[in-house]
């Protein structure tokens, strides 16, 4: 389009009037003479090219990176070849991280809601105003409800999360809810019930690997995704059980499209064969385990023939796999995996896996499952005040409330209906359980929760049953979200605080040890582009405003308040974060310099530490101090102590399909889809439907279909394929976002959190991702 061409006369005509005489306020000038102040554009001298070591934050893995920075601009993120955890790899997401700081959609300055919640009307405010506002709201809520736990704090793992907890503990709320019950808490619980800890798999040296429902080729985990292919020794065998033909299945020596929720039957039958054929490791069982006789009695009935009827894997192949597993032991791995709960008996499924490893002695030795190693860090021993007005967790007291989310149809007979005991007793209490927490808040039982903080968690997209989450938000008098981008959750907030990206900030040192011990940190590779801050700075800013409000400190002793200011503010948050980091590694000479240079530190060259628990005197973190094949604590709590088989729920109707979840290697949950370099790889999700079923339903490749569950319906294109069981359908998470504007990225495909029902795992309180049944109709 061509603009209307004006003539000089016309321009002069208008300029002759008033415009020429206007004098603007000089203070409003932002483009100033360079000589007026020293030039401070960039952390890097002009034209300089640097390679700076740090660690990725595009997903949970935190792979080592070397950032190539030219004239203050990040050009390329390269893998760090020396990092012993990521083994010199960097995935698509890690590479695409170089676009993150330069995303024009990122949050740039604190935003205060001025319209209705979710309407999208905001004003910019300064950090000072934001800090004051947060402190005032905290004080008001505390005064109104006389209970500090009336404000809930949600967060997800990350290097800055510890500073979020400085804020939480300075206010004194007991209600924190982390991502773990949407993640792997059931898995950790199941393995810990046997070994007392959640171990890693030594895939680099294993000779025989069974993976059940883990797609390591796409759901990338370092070093496992590297090791299971790069170092595959000659003769190593990989057995994969998955209802889908995943990229991992494509790498398998044998793939079984197992009937969902019957993996446990398969593993119980392996245990049956190994015990009945006397293939187990007698010496190991004798020395280290507890409850073998009880286990032996339990599995008598779980023969391969019995299992074949459940899981549809031929009995003779089950026998063969059992023998092979025992033959290669201890270099045999039943893969622990890293994923969310699929079924209400998930903990028992994982307990079964762990028991198989235990009886074959596949523990804490080369090629087996091995407990994680860590590097002892110098802790900041700060003590937060004990506030009188802090009531215990809302979900801790809400026993029985969760009946609604554990319907009879999926409840396991041996654990009854609902969480029979303290719903979050089994993992760290601060993790909470999203499902039971939300139920308790919705019912104001036992007390009202009216404030909500959220640090880098996106419950509106990540917690199944979105409507319930939004209803919970309606109860809140103040919602504050600390984020990098305008997430669906931030959109419903009253105050949005922009967090710097991982490429712009210092992050404290954290253990990431698997089999090899390693600690990592982060250093800024570029200057922050906008007026963003890190959680360290945000916590400090808010707490400084909090100490100015006397009513926030009237339920502690004055001396404790003075000690608080001295220890927490002066001692930690007022100092540069670099001092915090240096303090962490104080005991290791040269470690800080090593961190600056390599991004990681490992005390003894990162050598694997095998065998630390293979000592008859070692006390495992279980009730008996032994590896428990029979769990004494479960017995105490009235739970079944052995992994008794739990029959899966049948399909609710002939036209129903079980909905499966899964991942791709180029997106992290719901957080990366709008990165242009990743969007390019996949522009929308599609629903996998088995070829024969699609034919029955009259659905062809690419047809629009309606997917309907009990809680929602979604529209999505069909991907008709042989790669999935006929009784299941699947689409990947992260799509189908609601957005007021139509664009390439949004409102494409279907949403996972909308379609999923909220069914809870009966022990860990995790959300179960494979207990939703849907109908499919062609539109």
């Amino acid at each position: 389009m061509i603009g209307n061409k004006m003539t000089r006369r016309k321009f002069l005509g208008i300029s002759a009037a008033s415009a020429a005489g206007v004098a603007f306020a000089p203070a409003l000038t932002r483009v100033v003479r360079a000589s007026e102040k020293t030039n401070d554009y960039s952390i890097l001298p002009k034209g300089k090219r640097e390679f700076i070591a740090s660690n990725c934050d595009m997903c949970v893995n935190k792979c080592g990176i070397i950032c190539e920075v030219v004239e203050g601009k990040l050009h390329k993120i390269n893998p760090n070849p020396k990092n012993i955890k990521s083994r010199g790899m960097l995935c698509a997401k890690g590479n695409a991280g170089a676009a993150l700081p330069y995303s024009p959609d990122r949050l740039k300055t604190p935003l205060l809601r001025t319209g209705k919640r979710g309407e999208g009307k905001w004003k910019e405010i300064s950090w000072d105003e934001a800090f004051k506002l947060v402190a005032k709201n905290l004080a008001d809520l505390k005064e109104k409800y006389q209970n500090r736990s009336c404000v809930a704090f949600a967060s997800t793992e990350g290097f800055q999360e510890e500073f979020y907890y400085y804020l939480v503990n300075s206010f004194g709320s007991m209600n924190t809810v982390r991502h773990t019950t949407l993640c792997l808490s059931s898995n950790i619980q199941g393995w810990s019930s046997v070994f007392g800890v959640f171990p890693d798999a030594d895939l680099q040296h294993a000779e025989y690997v069974i993976m059940l429902g883990s797609d390591r080729a796409q759901a990338l985990i370092t070093p496992d995704s590297v090791d299971f292919q790069r170092f595959k020794p000659k003769g190593q065998k990989l057995i994969v059980l998955d209802p889908r033909f995943t990229e991992t299945a494509a790498k398998a020596d044998r793939w079984y499209p197992v009937k969902p929720r019957t993996d446990q039957a398969f593993v119980l039958a392996l245990i049956n064969v190994i015990i009945s054929e006397n293939l187990y490791d007698h010496a190991f069982v004798e020395t280290y385990t507890y409850g073998f006789e009880e286990l032996k009695n339990l599995v008598v009935e779980y023969t391969p023939e019995w299992a074949q009827a459940k899981c549809e894997i031929p009995a003779d192949e089950i026998r063969q796999i059992a023998r092979e597993f025992a033959y290669h032991a201890p270099r045999s791995v039943i893969y622990p995996g890293r994923r969310s709960a699929f079924y209400p008996n998930e903990v028992y499924i994982r307990q079964t896996f762990a028991i198989l490893a235990a009886i074959c002695g596949c523990w804490d030795t080369i090629g087996a499952v091995v407990p994680k190693s860590s590097v002892k860090l110098n802790m900041h021993n700060v003590i937060f005040p004990f506030f009188m007005l802090s009531q215990p967790r809302v979900d801790k007291q809400a026993v029985g409330l969760v009946k609604d989310v554990v319907p009879d149809s999926v409840a396991c007979p041996m654990v009854g209906t609902g969480l029979p005991v303290d719903s979050c007793a089994f993992l760290s209490e601060k993790d909470g359980s999203w499902g039971s927490f939300r139920e308790a808040v919705l019912q104001d039982n036992p007390y009202p929760v009216r404030g909500f903080f959220c640090f880098k968690q996106n419950p509106v997209q990540s917690v199944p049953n979105v409507q319930k989450t939004l209803t919970m938000f309606e109860k809140m008098e103040f919602i504050c979200v600390i984020e990098q981008q305008m997430s669906d959750t931030a959109w419903y907030a009253d105050l949005v605080l922009p967090h710097s990206t991982y490429l712009e900030s210092w992050d404290p040192v954290h253990n990431l040890g698997g089999i090899e011990p390693i600690v990592e940190f982060r250093q800024p590779v570029i200057k922050p582009l906008f007026d963003t801050k890190t959680m360290f700075e945000i916590a400090g800013g808010i707490i400084h405003e909090m100490v100015k409000i006397p009513s926030l400190w009237d339920d502690i002793e004055p001396a404790d308040f003075e000690a608080f200011k001295k220890d927490i503010l002066e001692g930690v948050l007022d100092k540069p974060i670099v001092e915090y980091i240096q303090h962490q590694v104080l005991e290791y000479p040269g470690a800080f310099e090593e961190l600056l240079k390599e991004g990681f530190y490992t005390p003894d060259g990162g050598k694997a530490r095998y065998g630390s628990t293979r000592n008859p005197d070692f006390r495992f973190k279980t009730k008996t101090g032994k590896i428990e094949l029979f769990n004494e604590r479960y017995k105490e709590f009235g739970l079944f102590p052995l992994p008794k088989y739990c029959e899966p729920s049948a399909l609710p109707g002939p036209d129903q399909y079980r909905f499966l979840v899964g991942r791709t290697a180029w997106n992290t949950h719901t957080s990366t889809q709008n990165n242009p370099y990743l969007w390019e790889i996949q522009k929308e999700n599609t629903i996998w439907i088995n070829t024969a079923e699609a034919k029955k339903l009259g659905i062809s490749q690419g047809d629009e279909v309606r997917v309907k569950s009990k809680v929602s319906e979604q529209t999505i294109k069909a991907y008709v394929t042989e790669k999935i069981r006929p009784d299941c359908v699947f689409y990947v998470n992260g799509w189908g976002r609601q957005s007021p504007w139509m664009s390439q990225i949004y409102k494409r495909g279907a949403s996972e959190s909308e379609i999923l029902e909220d069914v809870l795992d009966t022990i860990s309180g995790s959300m179960c991702m494979h207990e939703t049944f849907v109908t499919i109709t062609k539109i």
Partner: protein, 215 residues
């Protein structure tokens, strides 16, 4: 080269500065300044657009500004960064460095307290105002303001590349008239700059090219 038409050059400088203010976040100070000074530009807005853009209440204007230009759910409808438009949707691309270079060459920089990128539309417009000021101060002596002349032409050419798209997005997503009318006038003004520079400042592509070769 002939001297600039002083009156017209001052007007041009002020129009740039005024547009810079309009496309800047309207905090209380900026809003008040716009409210007080806008009427003086009645002639400009009548000539290049639909007349003076009606100024809404400050809170409404702030809400509109954030949702059009700063943050929105999913994506920002009308991004005011040159690099976004010129360098594939990313910030701090080549264009950004080019613009920073132009400012540096002319002896300017962005104030350190402004948490903004140099290629933000409001800064580009304010930079144009600053460059026009140089030319006025040097009385249009081309030997003394080569960089300012060249910079001005380059900023113009940069904005001309994306102002249509920008104005179109504003029109599509605006919920009130202020930014719609302003961006429409901005668009027409930018497209006329070639002509205005030549006639008001005696600056054109030809003499700018000569100065570059001489350098």
């Amino acid at each position: 080269m002939k001297n600039p038409n002083l009156q017209a050059a001052l007007a041009l400088k002020n129009i740039f500065f005024c547009l810079g203010l309009i496309f800047r976040y309207p905090d209380e100070t900026v809003y008040t300044e716009i409210r007080q000074k806008l009427e003086a530009f009645d002639g400009f807005f009548s000539e290049y657009g639909e007349g003076l853009p009606p100024l809404p209440r400050v809170s409404d204007l702030q809400g509109e500004y954030v949702s059009l230009f700063v943050n929105n759910k999913g994506f920002v409808p009308a991004l005011p960064y040159a690099s976004f438009h010129m360098d594939q949707g990313q910030l701090m691309g080549r264009t950004y460095f080019r613009i920073r270079h132009i400012l540096e060459e002319s002896g300017f920089r962005l104030d350190a307290s402004a948490p903004e990128l140099e290629d933000h539309l409001s800064i580009l417009l304010e930079s144009c105002a600053a460059l026009v000021r140089i030319i006025i101060e040097k009385n249009g002596d081309s030997s003394k303001c080569q960089n300012a002349n060249a910079g001005l032409l380059e900023l113009r050419s940069c904005m001309e590349h994306w102002v249509d798209d920008f104005a179109e997005k504003v029109t599509l997503h605006a919920s009130m008239d202020f930014y719609r009318i302003s961006s429409e006038a901005l668009k027409n003004f930018i497209h006329d700059l070639d002509n205005i520079f030549n006639q008001v400042l005696g600056v054109n592509q030809k003499n700018s090219h000569i100065t570059e070769v001489n350098r």
